[in-house]
Structures are given as C-alpha cells and as structure tokens.
Symmetry: C2
Subunit: 354 residues, 2 copies
C-alpha cells in the first residue's frame, strides 16, 4: 500500500528513456517529441507521479515559496491580510509558509530563521509589538532576501530589497472627522490608545488636523486616552457624559471599533439617540459593526488589498524590472458610513455604504 513515491528515475526505467527526457517531457519542454510527451504523461498519471518540490527547489536554487510572519494568525485583521497574500501569491505561482510571532521578538527571530532555512524567496512581515531591535531583519536583508513589511513597519529600515505597505490612518481619521462635521457635529470626542503606537498617533493627528482645517477648536477634555476595548470605551464615554451640559460631545470618533461599541452601549443606556444626540464612528470595520443597533460606521482597512499589494511589491523587489512606483506604499482607507453617524437620509456628498 504505502508504495515509495514514483520518481523520475522510475519513469525513466519503465519507458527506457533517460531522466533528462522525462524531466523535459513533464515540463513540456519544446525539444521533446509530442509522442514521447504523451507516453511520459500517461505513465506519470498511472503511477501517480508527484514531482518532488524539495529536490527541484534545491537543484534550481529557487524554492517557489514566500514566507509570512504575523503577530497572530487569529482575529479579524491578519487573517484577512494573509488571505490577500495567499491569493496573490498563488496567482504568481508561489506557495506560502506562515508563522506567527505571538507578539514576541524571540519567536519572531526564530521564525525568521526558519523561513530563511526553508529558503523562501521573499518574506512578508508585520512586526511583533515588542520588537525594538531589528538586527534579525538585517540578517535577512544581508542575504539578499527581499522583505516587505506591512501594517506594522520598521521606520527608517530601508534598502534596495525592502518595502513597506501601510494604511493611511491619518487620512482615515481625517475623513471620519470631516464626515462628522458634515453631519452637523460640533463637539467631536476622540478615543485613542497609547500614542507611541503609530496607528493611534496617526489617527489622533488626523483628528486634530481635520478639526483645525474646519476651523474648529481642539478641546483636551474631549480627548480620552483609554483602553481600546469594550470596557475602556464604556468608561471613557461615562466620563465624557459627566461633563457639564453644554460641554458634552455630540459625536465620538474611536480609534477602534470595540471601544466605539462601548460608547454606543453607554449612550443607549443613558437614553441618548445615536446618531441624533451622539454620532459614533469606529475604526477597522470589524465584523460586528453590522450587528450593532444602529450599525456602526467605521473605516475599512483594505486588509485583502494590503496583502495583495504587499505581494506585488515583493514581486517588484524580486524582479526589479517589474518594480513600478515606490517601495513605500500607503493605502487609502475607505470610510463606511452606516447608521451610527448618518443623520440625514442622504448626505451632502453621497458615500459608499456597505
């Protein structure tokens, strides 16, 4: 039963041909007679011949494999991005090897080595949040293996075979605030996480700049540094509602969706109407944004697009002739206006709704 897998040599013997001819026939090389190809293909079929990728890769010096290293493989964001990567890689004929760092630099380092050992032709990576030292990536760069960072990138880590793909968080936040102003909101609160994380810093800056651009004041009391989860959002909202009557917010822009849901729950429990009394917008377009009542407006992070873009960029780095445009790519986010922030049935500028 457990037959040794048929090899090219086996086929060669059986057909009284040389291994080279078999190899050529199987790869549909031009200088093999059609007749021979037929015979080879048929026997290969019968014996369930499966080429040994390992041997081919070793010989060719090309593994046909890309490596992916993400903080985790669960949740909403990364699986979507990895999906984009897988789709695009597969289209280009690459296999994909995936590892997760579990947000731990040590594992990141170890997995990076595993990927190198596996002779991957390029690596797509999103940094663990504890990563401060980038020596392990230097090694990769030094070996000439192209590297594309996505979402969580190393600032100032550059090279001819290094690229980055990120979302324009600043732009996303800016759009959100502009939209809220357009909806007639004048006291827009902001929930943010720690500003040493670039996602929060950029969203925060977009918030500030959008207010300023629209001639609106920035009020520190409307900016809440909170844990970006349900509980944190609830707490932040409760604090805001303790402000004197005229100073309470009529809108909340949360740097993520979970805290936005917290805000919504508190608003509802206080009998505030959403969006009429308080409009609410989150960030990330999580699955549950369509399950809240009202449905939560959010900013889509173009996860799949990010994955695909990262692979395309990597292909550009692998074959410089293909490289179009910059090695630093910033994706435009998409504001999805749902019920939680739409006061008028038809907004001034019609926007996409999902």
């Amino acid at each position: 039963m457990a037959n040794r897998r048929a090899s090219i040599t086996d086929l060669a013997k059986a057909l009284n041909l040389s291994a080279s001819t078999i190899s050529r026939a199987l790869s549909d090389h031009a200088d093999v007679s059609e007749a021979t190809k037929q015979r080879v293909r048929q026997l290969a079929e019968e014996l369930h011949y499966q080429p040994n990728q390992l041997a081919a890769a070793l010989r060719r010096g090309r593994s046909n494999t890309l490596g992916v290293l993400v903080p985790h493989i669960t949740g909403h964001f990364f699986p979507e991005v990895v999906n984009g990567i897988a789709v695009e890689a597969s289209k280009a004929g690459y296999n994909v090897m995936i590892f997760q760092s579990n947000e731990d630099v040590q594992q990141e380092k170890k997995n990076l080595e595993l990927l190198m050992n596996a002779q991957v032709e390029g690596i797509l990576v999103s940094l663990a949040n504890t990563t401060q030292d980038f020596a392990h990536f230097d090694a990769v760069r030094g070996q000439g293996v192209p590297l594309v960072f996505f979402d969580r990138v190393v600032e100032g880590f550059d090279g001819p075979n290094v690229g980055t793909v990120v979302l324009d968080d600043y732009q996303g936040a800016y759009q959100v605030v502009s939209h809220l102003i357009e909806q007639g909101c004048s006291r827009i609160a902001h929930f943010t996480g720690p500003l040493h994380l670039n996602i929060h810093r950029n969203r925060h800056q977009g918030y500030l700049d959008a207010l300023t651009a629209h001639g609106m004041p920035i009020e520190q009391e409307l900016i809440a540094f909170c844990e970006m989860n349900l509980k944190g959002g609830k707490q932040a909202m409760r604090s805001l509602l303790k402000l004197p009557a005229g100073q309470r917010p009529d809108a909340v822009f949360s740097s993520n969706d979970l805290a936005a849901v917290g805000a919504m729950q508190v608003a509802k429990e206080r009998r505030l109407r959403v969006p009429d009394d308080v409009a609410i917008v989150g960030f990330s377009n999580e699955v549950f944004t369509s399950l809240t009542e009202p449905m939560l407006s959010s900013v889509d992070q173009r996860c799949e697009r990010m994955g695909k873009t990262a692979v395309q960029l990597l292909q550009g780095l692998l074959d410089t002739r293909k490289l179009r445009g910059s090695r630093q790519i910033m994706l435009k986010p998409e504001l999805l206006v749902r019920e939680s922030s739409l006061r008028r049935p038809e907004p001034t500028k019609p926007r996409k709704k999902r």
Copy 2:
C-alpha cells in the same frame, strides 16, 4: 552585499575540516570534540550560516513540515483552529504550510497536490463544502501520508493512516436545551440550517432528543428552517412571534450565533425582555457574543483544542507507537451561559461563565 549564503562546505574549507564533521558539530553530535564544536559554532555565527532545510529534508527524506488545508483562512473558526495546529506543530518541531480551498473542490485537489509535492509528512484538512468525490484523498492515503480530517470530515473514509477530529454538536445542542429547560423555559424554538449539513443535523437531533428526554413535546411550528445569518434570524423570529399568544416561544436555540443575534434584535424591538420573556442561545461562541446586550449565551467549539488534538492525532499516525486511543475523536463542547439565557442570578448547577 547579497553574499551567497554560507554552506557547510564553506565552513569546512575555512576550518580545514570535512563537511561531515561540520554537519555533526552543528547538530551537536556526541562524537565531535567540544573544542571543534566551539570553533564550528563560532564561525557559523560569524558567517550567519543558515542550514538549508531543503537539502537536509531531501537527504533525510523528512521535510519536517505538515500541510494544512482549510476552506478559508478568514472568519473566526478556522483561524482559531489553525492557530491550535500551528502551536502544537511548532511544539513538535514541525513547520506548517497552509492552503485554502475557497470551498472549491478543484482548488482543494490542486492544493493537496502542492502539499504532496512539498513532501509534507502529514496533512490536516477540513473539507470544502462542495466536496463529494474523495479520489484526491485516496491518492494521499495511497502514498502513505497520514491524513487527519477536522470539523468537516469524510464519513466512511477510513484507513490505518486516517483520523478525524470533530466537535460533538449533538452533545452541545443537548446541553443548551437542557439548560433552557432548567431555566424554566417550556416552549423552546430552534433555528436550523439545511439538515444535509452534519453540523445542523446533529444539533437539530440534540435539540429533539433533549426535549424528549425531559418529557417535552416536539412542536414543528417552533422549528424554523432559515438562513443562518442576521436577516434569516430576524425573519424566523418575526414569524414565530406571529403565532397565537399561548403558542409563542419563550426561548430560542439557534444553530449559530448570527441568527441568534437576529432573534435578539427582533425580540428587543418588540419590547420583549431577554432572557425573561425569551431566552436566547446561539452556537459557536463568536467574538460578538460578548458585545450584544444582553450578552449572548453560546456553545464554545474548542477551536484551538481541535487544532491541537488534530496534530496530536497526526503524530500518533506518524508514529504508531505514540497512538493512544481512537483515530476518531469527538470533542466535548462547552456551554457558556451568559446573560441572554440566565434568568436566575445563580443557576441550579453553577456553570462556567466567560
């Protein structure tokens, strides 16, 4: 810059040793002097030597890689299971190669071949929902590569190197219904998807048997065949609430969480109190179950456990000496009682709450 990667031969030349000694030193073989090991290790470090996994695997005839094939890599369930697989595989020193079939038999077949070509030592697979013909798995089995099906399994596809891991959906449903009865519910409705899918069939059967076991009648009008999404759940709930006053349900057990949320939304819109007027329980323990108000009770599918178990089973198939127990494993689900079905502050039998 892009130096050719250092090889064992390079180290050998540099140190005036043979390749075999280098190889042995690097793998910390006992018959190499400690002094030599030191020298080798140091030079390897300096030259950033990385073993070529491809060559080693080819030579050894062992790739140290497991293959995973799932319908998709996104959503909640599969990433969690894959995570379990990755963790357990990594613990056992295996790398993991992941493919998705996108619910398409053709891709499933193609990816299965890719995994075989990559010389994976075992394959973990969850079937595409269109898969009816299993010839492509026969090929795998024929080559002696162990196969573990998880969640979506082939019934009646067996062999010495084939195993399965599934969740006991029947048991989960049975627990839910028992719990609802315990909470004083007497008219328990059931939302189900098409019964040709084993998950729904088994949950449905669990529902029926639990009612019978508690001496309660089965009422067809309380069983709703609906689309298992938000909209389907809403529609089903609306229909149920159109029943004459005495015949309306005082509980809903939905075969998934999404439809359960639909039911909850309709209940709330009709000013019914959850859980007092209608208790609601879903299935799958999706992330959003903790975001509804009240929080939705559900059945946890032990995703990570499933992944880990699948790998352990695979290890058993790889090394029969390690095989403990059956090749057909059924995991016990865990009922998570949250607010949506908990009428009394403390239930008769205390249960876990998350």
